[in-house]
Symmetry: C2
Amino acid sequence: MATITKDHAPLPEALLRELEGILDDRVSVAVAIRAQHGEGESFHPNAPPDAVVFPRSTEEVAAVARACSAHGVPLIPFGAGTSLEGHVQALHGGVSIAMSGMNRLVELNGSDMDCRVEAGMTRKTLEGHLKGTGLFFPVDPGADASLGGMTATGASGTTTVRYGTMRENVLGLTVVLAGGTVITTGGRARKSSAGYDLTGLFIGSEGTLGIITEIALRLHGIPEGIAAAVCSFATLEDAVNAVITTIQTGVPVARAELLDDVQMDAVNRFSDLDYPVRPTVFFEFHGTTAAVREQSATVSEIVSDLGATDFEWATKAEDRTRLWKARHDSYYASLALRPGCRGWATDICVPIGRLAECMLDTKADIEAEELLAPVVSHAGDGNFHVLFIIDPDDATEMERAERVNARMVKRAIAMGGTCTGEHGVGYGKIRYLEAEHGEAVHTMKAIKRALDPDGLLNPGKVVPL
Amino acid sequence: MATITKDHAPLPEALLRELEGILDDRVSVAVAIRAQHGEGESFHPNAPPDAVVFPRSTEEVAAVARACSAHGVPLIPFGAGTSLEGHVQALHGGVSIAMSGMNRLVELNGSDMDCRVEAGMTRKTLEGHLKGTGLFFPVDPGADASLGGMTATGASGTTTVRYGTMRENVLGLTVVLAGGTVITTGGRARKSSAGYDLTGLFIGSEGTLGIITEIALRLHGIPEGIAAAVCSFATLEDAVNAVITTIQTGVPVARAELLDDVQMDAVNRFSDLDYPVRPTVFFEFHGTTAAVREQSATVSEIVSDLGATDFEWATKAEDRTRLWKARHDSYYASLALRPGCRGWATDICVPIGRLAECMLDTKADIEAEELLAPVVSHAGDGNFHVLFIIDPDDATEMERAERVNARMVKRAIAMGGTCTGEHGVGYGKIRYLEAEHGEAVHTMKAIKRALDPDGLLNPGKVVPL
């Protein structure tokens, strides 16, 4: 596997001693541990930190930040390692802060429908804690990411069309700043107009403005009724229009996932299914039993008008699970199309009225470059993913994928969209930030300099300095 | 009326000439015009700017900002003048930028359900533009505020429980920075993880970080069915519990407004109605006809269990209007309780589980201080308003109101809430910011200094410097 090795000073011995003074044996310089914390799940090359620390409290993170700051050494927070744009690579060396040891449920306020967790807790662990409460946390990016990582990247996913992204579901944060100062942002009130929205600023800042150690989350009531449906369409345009019409009709759809023909083929092969190899939409509806029935009926009409076939409904949990298995397995199904190859996932987001056009142009480009790249869309948000399946031994494949990616980003921005809807910038998309935001990037830089004057927080990410 | 006169240098003649060069006759130093732009609708004393300018484009605002910056003169944006916490007072003199001339609909994208407006447009003007499109903009703070002002204060209101605050409904902004640079933030995509959330940072920044000149807004489909209901309860606790149970049951209520006994008495007298003088909740339900019927039935059961009486339903538009008239008139009804007196509106927000306790303690405090102050609550958000009706000739009344306000804020913060849910900080609540945010206020100051190093943007507001 490729490794980035940039020139940087070795970790000062004195700092290592100080870190051991703070964390005892929870400091590692072992090559394997460092390598493990030098990449996420992306195609970006590994860039190992010089040391990895495993704090168990905000105070320990603050002490680590104070020590690193005194020595001028970079700090890179590490969640569950599911990053897709090179967020955790130690591009300039430094100390990786592995948050896995901070996974406590700090508080659960059932009647207020909120909770507070430590940043290392993964969303599935939280799901476990919420069992039996009648509540759930809706943001589902697919991977079992840490809630800190999801906050830091402004994650979203399959249910965003109904329940919002992390931005709409984080009430407040505890953050360790560059010099080790601890602040809390937001609160437990459902809304506030008291001062600048620091919570919103740290969401999506990818560890470059501070290290998130605790998160207050908004929870939702588990709906009485849930129904799922799968239907396939003759064209991608019809499939997109089915989702757009559903939203415009005001159906509060909980999920509307679109898989293209290439992805459906992969899913069929992987899970031994026989769905039509055509653009397919997986719907999910949440509400009272009656509301779900009504939503389903409305969408049945919409998709029939658009010529959908093979319409399949499921209201029982096991049937829904079977139906959604195809969607959930799509990543591994895609990789299985070409054993020995690696996946490179990229995403963009456009106004929903431009989604079909953007997807079709991108698919044409993928074909023209003779690449294998299934497309999956959170269609209700105007967001889609391309998963390039790349042979690491064919140097030109990566180049061709990069060209397709660059053109896709350019296309999205030209349509009023964004270079990333949910994966984040990391260092993989840093080059596109100015194209998207223009002068506003200077404002971002001014904020970065104000909060991290020495540039020690996850350097080389998000903001081109 | 009281006027603040702080010592500050007079407006340089050269700047006045430059402003006239940019805006011709759209520059005024007339005493009446300056006084008109020296206060909102609050009790805070008037502080007139030295001049008022009336730009018609972002470019003109930028030119004004450049000129003021060169002369070191403060800039204060002015929307519709409905501010409640002294946002527009020219505490250090300077130039007020009246945005009323910037009220164009820049674009309307029906199929994407978004639009872009100039910041001076009021929400009712936008309502007019949307007529016949099947779309509406949901944020309703009561007053016919400008959308720029609503963005700058992070406004919310009666429908926030269902549709969110300005934060959830603003997609992007055009902002003129301190030195006159123009940036655009956000975009038309429904979500983005590309860089720091500048849109969120400017929302609620009250003109202290930049001057908002255009706003991209998310629109919503007008629901097929709307129903309203009014019901009164024996105790405030029962009324609050009715709303909390409704939300916990998952009913997507569109409005849940609670008026206390004092407010209901005022409303009865003002509009010649005969509602019981008891804590009363006004509900509104949005959805399909069937969904609205189901929601109404569920809430009927909930409120009956809590002993609600005088339950009144309305599905026809004219009946709903009659029902809601009482709520809409509540401000003027309150003022009419004591002719010749003025109103001072304040608001706080707490986790919904603490709302009843916080309201009851506050009402006891109002009684102990022998004040007249109706209470109205956006109960679904945990947010409530106290409107002190104050005799300007009785010096002690204002002091007593200030004590009640200070204790209410302290109480809210102790409960995990906020010193203002929707009115904003202005300079009226600046003293409470550190109590609420602690160390985080230093981070806000760092951001203020980074974006406005000379402190010329609405100085003396939001952040205590």
